[in-house]
């Protein structure tokens, strides 16, 4: 551990965590290596592919370009923390029905981003879903199954709300 380690205190998936972290460690490495939350995947480590997307205080963020030390006092939610989240549960069901995942590597980031789209954009048509999701890359599915899955969840929620 670096001599310059900083002590931070944050909430990870609802649990209080105190940790001494090197200033250069990004949040993705912190979550994976220290908290053993390996569901957050690192696909590029320069903030483009979106595989490492997590929630900070409820907002989607790239954990690979967020320093762990910058998360002092924040609340972080990873894909493992969405087990009981109702929107994530609907999305998991829809992703499986629509074959929105193949190798599964981009999937945790996709789910976090998709959850945000479902909550923020109940009016989204398919082009709007594509634009809203364009910060996440998938190399397997050709995106069709992912768009269909998000469409399915939005439609079901709108029907139930109506």
């Amino acid at each position: 551990m670096s001599a310059h380690a900083k002590t931070i205190s944050l909430t990870v998936n609802g649990t209080r965590v105190e940790a001494s972290v090197p200033p250069r460690q990004h949040l993705g490495d912190f979550l994976r290596e220290r908290e053993l939350l390996t569901g957050t995947h690192l696909g590029c480590e320069h903030g483009v592919c979106g595989a490492c997307t997590i929630l900070i205080d409820g907002e989607p963020a790239r954990s690979c370009i967020t320093f762990a030390v910058a998360c002092d006092g924040r609340s972080v939610t990873t894909v493992e923390g969405l087990d009981d989240d109702p929107v994530a549960a609907e999305l998991r069901e829809a992703f499986s029905t629509e074959h929105g995942l193949q190798c599964g590597f981009c999937t945790p980031g996709m789910l976090v981003a998709a959850r945000d789209v479902v909550l923020r954009r109940p009016d989204a048509d398919n082009p709007a879903i594509r634009t809203a999701m364009s910060g996440n890359l998938c190399r397997c599915t050709g995106y069709v199954g992912i768009v269909n899955a998000i469409r399915r969840v939005i439609d079901a929620r709108n029907t139930n709300a109506g």
Partner: protein, 789 residues
Amino acid sequence: MGEVSTAGSGAGSGVGARVRRKEDDRLLRGRGRFVGDIALVGMKELAFVRSPVAHATITGIEIPEEHRGAVFTWADLAAGGVKPIRAVSGLPGFKVSEQPALADGKVRFVGEPVAVCVAATRAEAEDIAASVFVDYAELPVNSDMLEAVTPGAPKVHDHWPDNVFLETNVGGNIAEIAATAPVKVSRTIRTARQCMVPLEGKGVVAHWDRHVEQLVLTTSTQMPHIVRAGLSECLDLDQGLIRVVAPDVGGGFGWKGLLQPEEIVAAWIAMRLDRPVRWTEDRREHLVAAANAREHHYEITAYADARGRLLGIEADAWVDAGAYSVYPFSACLEAAQVGSILPGPYDFAHYRCRTFSVCTNKPPIVPYRGVARTGVCFAMEQMIDAVADAVGREPWQVRLENLVPPEKMPFDNVTRKHFDSGDYPESVRRAVAAIELEGWRARQKAGEPDGRLIGVGFATYCEQSAHGTAVYHGWGIPMVPGHEQAQARITPDGGLELRVGVQSHGQSMETTFAQVAHEVLGIPLEKIKLVHGDTGLTPYSTGTWGSRSMVMAGGAVATACRTLAERLRKIGAHLMQAGPDGAVLEGGSVKAGAAAVTIREIAHTWYRAPQLLPADVDRGGLEVTAGYKPGSDHGTFSYATHAVAVAVDPEIGQVEILDYVVVEDAGTMVNPMVVDGQIYGGVAQGVGTALYERMPYDAEGQPLASTFADYLIPGFTEVPHVRIIHMLTPSPYTEFGVKGIGEGGAIAPPAAICNAINDALKPLGVIVTNAPMTPEVILSAIAGKRGAA
């Protein structure tokens, strides 16, 4: 021909059913287990010192005093008995390269590993790597394959007479046609060097298992058994002392279908230090050191009659094979394949093709999804459109004129490829109808209010998949596929374990092989467990490549399950005191008249109550290893026609895909949802090849992209909502009539999109022939015409 009903009704969960995947739940909860997720007690991390120059002699490596013992070079590995990678082809004239896992006195491409650094964390290992000083005496560079074959070009391998791994010549009976053909069109065509970009990079964890006395290499691979064979050769270690395991693998597309230098290094370091070590490829390493696919150049001429009937094709093709020959596919597979598959799905008699596998100062070429077919289809389908233009017919009509018709199936083409089945012309007719060509033609005539130009393009291909023994024996490379094997074992509680040596990295095999087993045995999917990707637990296999797994391992699973079914039936009949002839296995039970015993009860008898078994019971019990080969050794031939409508903006060169249709024939589909997913994903990669993906190099061999901001892979807004139309012509040679389908989607998009762009640009009198067709390429074509006018 067309929608032939096949084994599997599509109902239930057997062959033909669109069932959800067994692997989804863990992946959707972030609870998969990829290489990077594995941490072993005392594990160290590796970082590589990589060459910053494309060609140089290493005149010195200085390791800071405080890091001695944490940095290793080829001198250490060689002293430890490590041998360089040798991937030899038996084709006559092939020149052998030796690739040491770390550079041995010379570097031959940017990104080549020079030294390895060991530390507690990756960050600290990278710190050490940054402190290692390597002295490079730079040498002249081959950054372009056409220059590399000119006299006087610098040599990549000093002891070779030139820079050509292999030259091949196919056919030759072309001179008379060339002299007399009414129509002759020629093109220069090129595809760019690409990176495959699975979202998960490569990665490896190596440790020595002291109890089993084995090196255990957990690696992100498509072919664990082949990696083991290669490691054994390079480490001089018996294969019995090596176990290779593939955990969840985050996409491969070919990049994980080879023995990697980093795997050799990690294995050696783990044994040398007697500590677990891990290396995880980061994105920059991937983009720089693994820019290794697709780079073809064609000089091609088509000869035809006045109706556009092909009389002959003549071509010279160059493939930039990079600096070394990769294990197991070699440096020549891609170029030599060009010679044998360039004729595509067409029936013509005269053919000559010369190919060159060129050695350059770039990363070694690795077969990427579709292998040479994407480049070949790009070249051949442009020629069909060029012929159509020359004879004044619609391109789809010229395709119909030349495609092998269904009544000639099975058909041996001009290079003796054995097309097994299907109706190629019908795929074109359906594509023309589905894209609604007439509507686009009317819109073209009317013109667009925004000034954009509309174009429609088609491309047809057929794809040899699940290659047989003869083809690979012909290559003479380190790997020849033979009989594929599967193990099937009824568990004591009546479930089923399947063990296969192929490896699933997104292909959904945990589900689809279970569907195959369910089709035969009737055991519910949730009680079927697939074990794969582990040399310690599965039969030998050359792995997952070449769209082979469902044909080969699926066939083996079916064969093994049939043997099990017969054994179950005999035991079941005995338990019911029925004659064996009157008993049938149906819906997971053996039935004789009104009586029935379940597989669970039979399993209980074999394992827990053997006193009840018949005296002549098969002593192999409820566990079977069976081998499989299709009825033909020539592989299966799936095929497709892709149709695309585009709008091209002549002012800014931008291409928008307005509609995209795939009409394809994969034979019987085990799971149509999974087949569709493979096609959607393949098309997305093909769109990348067509419009976006290119690793540029400067004259010094420096790669000019190293992030996703400058190497562009297509995202949500670049990939169209593809429409798929299935034709279902079962292969006459395989279990259930399945054909390989994993790669096909990636083959035709560059060709179809290029033809559509050229259709759009027709009023301007310009064509583009090189991929990717970026705005820069399109605008320079238009500007060239304006400049000439």
